[in-house]
């Protein structure tokens, strides 16, 4: 089996999902968005690997976990360049890139301190107005939050 130097730094998995090209400072947000805190499978997190494109990147290896597209696309908000390798019997059987969704529900916090969603217990809703440099528009206050100011619940 061919493995490059970067992948040798963490152990291989038999079946599951590898999420690569996560910006290092988004690792914990991705963990949180995917709800990995509550999953009991074996998982490996690596961070601060050198990456030409991202500067420092992080990687997540999840044994026996496979995601639906809608679920995995949620991480595009904080890791728009993330790539998924689906592993079956130690082999990459499928590669996927994440796609920024058209709408975002309940993940991000509205950046406007005067927004009603920051004052009452309301599930946030946004329309994605820019996918390249991610920017989301609040369904309630109509203000735009860009990726730099985006906070994840």
């Amino acid at each position: 089996m061919v493995m490059d130097d970067k992948k040798l730094q963490v152990s291989a998995i038999k079946n599951g999902t590898v999420i690569d090209h996560i910006p290092a400072n988004s690792l914990f947000k991705v963990i949180h968005i995917l709800g990995l805190e509550k999953i009991e499978s074996q998982m490996t997190f690596g961070s601060n690997f050198e990456s030409k494109r991202l500067g420092l990147k992080a990687i997540i290896k999840l044994a026996d976990i496979f995601f639906m597209d809608d679920d995995i696309n949620k991480i595009a908000l904080v890791a728009p360049e993330a790539k998924l390798n689906i592993i079956k019997d130690y082999k990459v059987v499928e590669k996927k890139i994440v796609e920024v969704p058209d709408t975002v529900t309940g993940i991000a916090k509205c950046g406007n301190p005067k927004c009603i969603t920051n004052h009452e217990g309301i599930v946030t809703k946004f329309a994605v107005v820019s996918k390249k440099k991610v920017a989301i528009k609040c369904h309630y206050c109509e203000k735009i939050t860009d990726s730099e100011h985006m906070e994840i619940f």
Binding site: K114, I116, T117, E120, C138, Y140, C141, K143
Partner: protein, 303 residues
């Protein structure tokens, strides 16, 4: 499709806007119509706005309806810590429509989602004030005979002025040419320039006010507030640079009208009031007809 609520001007199509403006014209001809007989309208003002509230209450009264409500949050259960959701769900039991002003942005959208009766947004923080926008559109159409292909000059606080932002969005449907005249600290935010770029509409930004308004069909004046300036020196330097004086109207087009959402402080000299190009007090009167139109349209009482 007809909207059950009026939360944001961008929820309304061109056709629906015209329906409301046509209805308002009907109310201008015949203001007293008993269409709200046996109807109760709630006017919930979580922050005071005497002018908007009186305009709504006048509209309801001319339609023969009754209204209940409060004029600021300190006289309501909000001061006891009640959530907006609870207030709205309770008041929806007592009324056929809720008209609300609230300092928090997005509050009207949220209210419209939890209320079982229609909600009309009478201003939510710096976000939207769609009934003002509709009365502005009514005033523009009435004085110009059309909404198409006009040159509109927005003057003053273009950064925080929500009436400017909403009117700008609505006028984008009508091939408007925009002129933005403001001090540097209060210039129109980039997101609105991007919006106009995407629509392919022309706009010009100016720092100077005098001598550039000869092409104007509408001059939309706004109030510059001291507290908007981070530097008080800057306020003192600029406060008199954006004042409309009667003499400035000499070389303007004969169809040109001056609009202002009111209240005015000193940004329009009082001697302009006598000029036939001054339209702001009639604009406020149009607000009553427009609000009659909005209420009856949403309740399906008049087609």
């Amino acid at each position: 499709m007809e909207n059950k609520n009026l939360v944001s001007i961008t929820d309304y199509s061109k056709e629906e806007i015209f329906e409301i403006l046509d209805l308002a014209a009907d109310f201008e001809k015949n203001p007293n119509q008993n269409l709200l007989d046996n109807k109760v309208i709630a006017t919930l003002f979580f922050e005071p706005s005497t002018r908007t509230r009186l305009s709504f209450e006048s509209a309801i009264s001319r339609l023969g309806g009754k209204y209940i409500g409060f004029t600021d949050a300190s006289s309501s259960s909000v001061s006891k810590g009640e959530s907006l959701k609870d207030t709205i769900m309770t008041v929806a039991n007592y009324s056929d429509m809720i008209i609300m002003r609230h300092p928090i942005e997005g509050s009207a959208r949220w209210a419209s989602e939890v209320s079982r009766v229609p909600v009309v947004n009478a201003g939510d923080g710096a976000n939207q004030h769609p009934t003002q926008t509709l009365l502005d559109l009514y005033s523009i159409r009435k004085t110009q005979g059309t909404l198409d292909n006009l040159d509109i000059f927005f003057v003053g606080d273009l950064k925080y002025g929500r009436t400017v932002h909403s009117l700008l969005q609505a006028m984008a449907m009508f091939n408007t040419t925009y002129h933005f005249i403001s001090p540097k600290e209060l210039r129109i935010p980039d997101e609105y320039k991007l919006f106009l770029d995407r629509k392919g509409l022309k706009y010009h930004e100016h720092r100077e006010f005098d001598g550039i308004i000869s092409d104007a069909d509408i001059i939309y004046m706004t109030r510059i507030q001291r507290e908007r300036f981070s530097d008080p020196m800057e306020y003192e330097k600029t406060k008199n640079s954006y004042v409309l004086k009667n003499g400035m109207l000499d070389n303007t087009k004969s169809n040109m009208k001056v609009l202002h959402p009111l209240p005015r402080v000193n940004e329009i000299d009082t001697d302009v009031d006598e000029n036939e190009k001054a339209y702001y007090f009639t604009q406020a009167l149009n607000g009553v007809y427009t609000r009659q139109a909005i209420i009856t349209h949403i309740l399906g009482l008049k087609k």
